[in-house]
Symmetry: C2
């Protein structure tokens, strides 16, 4: 079967993802147009992913696409923004089949609908290297109300949404490294799903505008990312290992194989929100979010240059020594 | 020398490019913020480039960066927009030196100033493949006044800015294929510069809001791109080869080596604007632009499904047969 040409691929596979956005101009113009809602400011971010680095070459293409979308929407969630559209630059390997691209576009289509976030622009090229994608996500937040990494103060609660460590252990599951150890299949599947399909915490981020003093999403490991919030805000942090929320699947897996606390604290790919919240705002957080309220894991402290920026207390209340704090790309 | 870490690279090389944009948050947050100017709509585009495909692996890194910027700003120019910021996703080869990245960032820095367009976000990853970059350019245009590809009507003049064909012949010059043929060095240098450093026609695009009926930038070849305008607008086009403006450098080069008319008509990389202009607006176009006024090369005609969409008349007034109309990536 002849492969689709560049223009045919756009018309067949990507233009339908733009159908709900008149300003996308059918992906047929030089640029897309977006009308700013009154009183809102633009929130914009970009992330790149690479086959063999950010996802496994054999990962299903629909999940690759959806993870790409969600990793970016997670950044919008961390700012408290509402998604408005995305632009996608794709470098497909020269031997990439039409079927792979079709499945990739089908994955995109699901998340375009799920998050109400149309594809409003893009570019596709052929590469002799690994598949490489970059996605730019655009959203809106009420003027002056976006959540930032700066803003945490000594005494603020440190909280996280969902559960931590599933991304890192989910990678093991996706790689088959939990197979044959007696870990139940449903736990493996749940962990792999957390690696493949993060859940951007858009609703929570939006609900916490005006309540959280700082926010970011946890992509490179809890301790490292908390260090970024501390550096931006000029505070230190102390968190308690036993307070860090773990999923049922991770707890089950841990009964069958060793999963180091360090992996939970420093593994990447969780895409949960890390929040600092002034204690006086906590009742309102619980009132707004109910069962979705984040879990408190520690406190911000005065910056004390004698101590490490992020201190983790183990189950005996002693500071842990962590060999590394998180993921760096190079 | 130890290579810079990911975070050090951002702090040392890219954060300075964000200094003029408070909403970039020092490239230290999850996303960037932009405040929409009153009465303006957002114009946004993305383009990807790849070493060995869109530029030569030995091209100076500062020129690679600046071409990437300019190719995207050319899309904003084609919409009549004013640049506001850009986001850059970089996949650097693992063996890419700090010096290469520094020179790349230095090139960016020049164009950030030249076009008043700060880097407000980005992502960097390491790749085992060729260097791959994608740039998202953001701009603003008065609500409802952006120039689109649709809108050309039968009877409208077809015009181009600058000169055509220099990009394609400039690639030859950059590859050394004009060397030893007697082409004067200054002509070779001028042509290579046109390939390496396109000039986004921002001022012209902005001036033609309300005057041009359609616009796009010429990146994949004049005839193919004119076909896109025709398809979007539902018209046909007839242009005259002898009216297509050629640079002095290209005319000199042509005295020494064969440069086919087809190459001028279908070669890519010119990044001039292709415009359709109702004849009654032409005096105002000349009044606004003076010596920068585009050159009329033909006319839009009624869509006549019996004829080809774009007809090029040769110097004898006969329709030319073109083997291909322009560049496709795959």
């Amino acid at each position: 079967m002849a492969r689709r040409s560049e223009f045919q691929q756009i018309a067949d596979l990507f233009a339908p993802l733009a159908a709900s956005a008149p300003g996308a101009l059918g992906l047929k113009d030089d640029a897309a147009l977006l009308v700013p809602p009154a009183g809102q400011q633009l929130v914009v971010t970009v992330d790149a992913i690479l086959s063999g680095v950010h996802y496994l070459p054999d990962d299903p293409p629909d999940l690759v696409a959806r993870k790409l979308v969600r990793v970016n929407l997670s950044d919008l969630a961390a700012m408290g923004a509402t998604p408005a559209g995305m632009l996608l630059a794709c470098a497909f390997p020269r031997d990439c089949s039409d079927a792979w691209v079709e499945a990739f576009a089908a994955g995109l289509a699901l998340d375009v609908v799920e998050f109400g976030c149309p594809v409003i622009g893009g570019d596709t090229v052929a590469t002799p290297g690994p598949a490489t994608f970059s996605l730019t996500a655009l959203g809106w937040a009420p003027m002056g109300q976006a959540l930032l990494r700066r803003g945490a103060k000594a005494g603020d609660l440190i909280a996280v949404t969902g559960t931590i460590g599933d991304g890192a252990v989910g990678l093991w599951a996706a790689q088959g490294r939990l197979t044959g150890l007696g870990v139940p299949e449903d736990a493996c599947a749940a962990l792999a799903a957390r690696y493949h399909l993060p859940q951007p915490r858009l609703v929570i981020g939006q609900a916490l505008r005006g309540l959280a003093s700082a926010a970011m999403d946890i992509s490179d490991g809890l301790v490292q990312d908390l260090g970024h919030v501390c550096a931006a805000s000029g505070v230190c942090a102390e968190i308690r290992l036993e307070a860090v929320p773990l999923s049922a699947a991770l707890q089950v897996a841990r009964e069958h194989t060793h999963i180091a606390d360090e992996l939970v604290l420093t593994g990447g790919d969780d895409y949960e929100l890390l929040l600092t919240i002034p204690p006086e705002n906590w009742p309102e957080v619980e009132a707004r979010l109910g069962p979705l309220a984040p879990t408190v894991i520690g406190l911000c402290r005065e910056d004390d240059s004698a101590a490490e920026t992020v201190r983790v207390l183990d189950r005996q209340g002693q500071p842990m020594q962590l060999a590394a704090t998180g993921w760096q790309h190079f």
